[in-house]
Amino acid sequence: MAGEQKAGVKKAKKPKKHHASRNPVLARGIGKYSRSAMYARKAMYKRKYEAPETKIEKKKREKAPATLTKPVGGDKNGGNRVVKVRKMPRYYPTEDVPRKLLSHGKKPFCQHKRKLRASITPGTVLIILTGRHRGKRVVFLKQLASGLLLVTGPLVINRVPLRRTHQKFVIATSTNVDISGVKLPKHLTDAYFKKKRLRKPKHQE
């Protein structure tokens, strides 16, 4: 502390020790002195602080203009009129809080939250339980936007192509394959895998 005093002359005061509570406890949660008595005992009348106004607060204070002046056009051309920027509401509803729609909080499927089990990470070997490839062990690549898992055999090993599976119908093993060097092409999305309808609109009467 002595060294600090020598080096920094700017600091005139030493950091002061804090006083213990000036309000003796009668029982838990109950002090001897009231709020006003404490105000006097702590000498808060001497300790009124105000933080300096920052530039941001100053900017906030500079309000937008309340009224605008606009030129009068049309019949009574020439001259100006004063227009309020923020007008009074023309209607006050009888209910204070507007009623929520029945569909409040119900999101469409595309906006649902997707969850993924902690045991499934890129490179995990999964066991497929349903579908034509049931019982096969397969490598997990990534979770698609719809929540389905993108998975591959690889094809040369067990004839499972790049395919989507559901998280629920899969067992995650503890075995993991290092997949960090694999770059998945960007075109592999749900739209790529979605079943397409072949349309032949040949209406013949």
């Binding site: 093993t173 503890s174 075995t175």
Partner: protein, 137 residues
Amino acid sequence: QVFKRYVEIGRVAYISFGPHAGKLVAIVDVIDQNRALVDGPCSGVRRQAMPFKCMQLTDFVLKFPHSARQKHVRVAWEKENINEKWTATRWAKKIEAREKKAKMSDFDRYKVMKAKKMRNRIIKHEVKKLQKQTSKK
């Protein structure tokens, strides 16, 4: 010659169930018909009474007088090198194999399957060869 391993002072026993399951202890003294005073200084078992039912006798016997202090039991244990001798027995190896099998993951089971398949194929090949030889004769 029905019984080969007897309960005696110094007999090393393997605890089969209870809180100290899987550990080795030495019988220090016999309390009554069902219990023994037991101590396992080198296997983490405090000196205590233990029923005979949860003990399984091993082939090892240590030399110390009855009710000997833990210090003497430890000295005798280390002199005979029981821990090493135990891990070299078939009994301990079987226990370890059982534990390993229970801990197998799906990938391990796959490896075992492939190894078994290869082994059986070799065996079958040899058997077929021998059969051919005998049938030719």
